[in-house]
Amino acid sequence: MWMVEIPPFVPFFICALIAAVARGVWRSATMVAIPIISAFHLWMVPEGIHLQFAFLDYQLILYRVDKLSLMFGYVFHIAALIAIIYSLHVRDTKQQVAAMLYVGSGLGAVFAGDLLTLFVFWELLAFTSVFLIWARRTRRSYVAGMRYLIIQVLSGVILLVGALFYVAENGTLEFGHIGLDGIAGWLIFISFGIKCAFPIAHNWLTDAYPEATVTGAVFLCSVTTKVAVYALARGYPGTELLVYIGAAMTCFPIFFAVIENDLRRVLSYSLINQVGFMVVGIGIGTALSINGAISHAFNDVIFKGLLFMSMGAVLHMTGRINGSDLGGLYKTMPKTTVLCIIGAASISAFPLFSGFVSKSMVMSAALENGYDWIWLILLFASAGVFHHAGIKIPYFAFFAHDSGIRASDPPKNMLLGMLIAAGLCIAIGIYPAALYALLPYDTGYNPYDATHVLAQTQLLFFSALAFVWLNLRGMYPPELRSTNLDFDWVYRRVFPSILQKTFSIIWTINNVLRKAFLVRLYRCLAFLAKKNDRSSVLLSRTYPAGSMVMWVAVLLAIYLLLSFT
């Protein structure tokens, strides 16, 4: 059937085109309909390569479907639908078009079967998503977007160079297992790592996402990092280095999240923390851990989207997002409060919520494969994520001290978007078999045995107890209006100031040298002129140019006189 050959990014790109010209109900209707139709279409598509063509000497595979890419394909459709419903009230064509192109690029990337196609969509992801940040139309969002774009494009360029090396080494562009041998492997690894927010390459995320628009952040948190997780899962499963990188990713952001004031930035840090669990899962590389990583990515798209939506609702209704400005909103935003708590419970991996059924797979896999220390770190990170995302976010936004803000619940479409996400969080938590059936491997894993449930519940309740205890003792760090330095300080402050100083030194030296040289030159000339003055009074005196002109005129006059006679 020819329909099979339509890759899923095509409907989204067409939708972007329609969104650019249509207005009002028609635009809304198309934007809601396209992901649903496209999802049904994807559901019917069998595994295999459906669209490829030859480019120069290489076979480009535009559309390859297997279980791994399908998982991400499904969840991007779900995320797109939820985010589109959430943003139906937005009257900003640029944003709507960019969002559609962005999701389309994400889908293009996960179904790309070769590195060149992957590169094209990789860069498209960057160029389309940056408009979701710029659409905020503030100076901060503009400069943050610029930094974001530079880093994302850099990642793409490294990927392209890596792909060229890969061709030279292997003679094929096909995107399969790559591994860390050879320059190509490392280059592509670094490229994926940047987009995956590896430590010290993570600041594009915490820098740009909080500056995006309310609805833009919901799209952003779903796609970019998950495409990177997908790419790692395909190219580098079982790479041990990833276990340690992932463990670092789960750990360090939670410290920053505890002291961060901007609640959407707290969510950005916890996004890195969650991606860390996936990276560990990919690094371990067993069937169980890969399953865990992929299903956690699937769940994370939904519950992180839900949390970003609930904080977006707060920002939309109150115009504020700093923990120090908020509080007591549960009184007037009860629906948002409940939905946010569902998202918080899911990310904290409470039993019966979606995070539990996927994160426990990674934890079990870490234990079973002898990564004891990694397991302890992940356990600490699990307690930490509950602390900052599970408690801090809802507590400081909706409870804590009464800020006096009396904002009502957001518009119906926003609530509906959150409701769908919350419903999915609970549905997957209660009936994980539906999710497990989609996974690439059949491991017969059951998250709901007494050991797991008890262990996780104990961990979480005593984390909550710690929060209460610290709060009652007054030891909990209050929300303060502040900027916390992170690694981006190095390229936002240290590098510029070093460069500035270096250049100013270079300019000064340059000026001094030029001046000294010119002075020396003048002196030489003067010296020579003086010498001439003394040596020959007659021959080399310095006559003014005017006198020469006069003498020429005199000569010509004499010549004229002579010619008359």
Partner: protein, 121 residues
């Protein structure tokens, strides 16, 4: 607007200290119960630490306290004013040595030496 304000200003759930207390007591009771369950439920542990009594509760509690304390300590050297990065680029009007000042210094140094060398004179 007036109506809204009136209806809002009636006391909400957590405005009653009694309710807050109830919630806290519920939390304490749950924690105690979970600790006791450790005796009842037999774990099939993989790691030997899992068999220690109260491993998960203690790890969770201590972990969180350490997390918060370390984070609070990090504030001492990471925290800056809110507009820290917004002020970037304001103080880089560097003092460039302009051409005029360069010329001036030429004429100062050269005039004394050069004599009778003004070609247009």
């Amino acid at each position: 607007m007036e109506n809204e304000k009136l209806s809002v200003e009636k006391k909400s759930f957590f405005d009653h200290p009694k309710n807050v207390k109830r919630l806290l007591h519920f939390l304490y009771a749950s924690c105690a119960l979970l600790l006791l369950l450790d005796f009842v439920i037999h774990r099939h542990a993989i790691h030997r630490w899992e068999n220690l009594w109260g491993f998960y509760p203690i790890y969770g509690f201590v972990g969180c306290v350490i997390l918060v304390q370390v984070a609070a300590w990090m504030r001492t050297f990471l925290m800056r004013a809110e507009d820290y990065y917004d002020s970037e680029g304001r103080n880089n009007e560097e003092k460039v040595v302009t051409d005029e000042s360069l010329n001036e210094s030429f004429s100062k140094t050269t005039k004394t030496n050069v004599r009778d060398h003004n070609v247009d004179g």
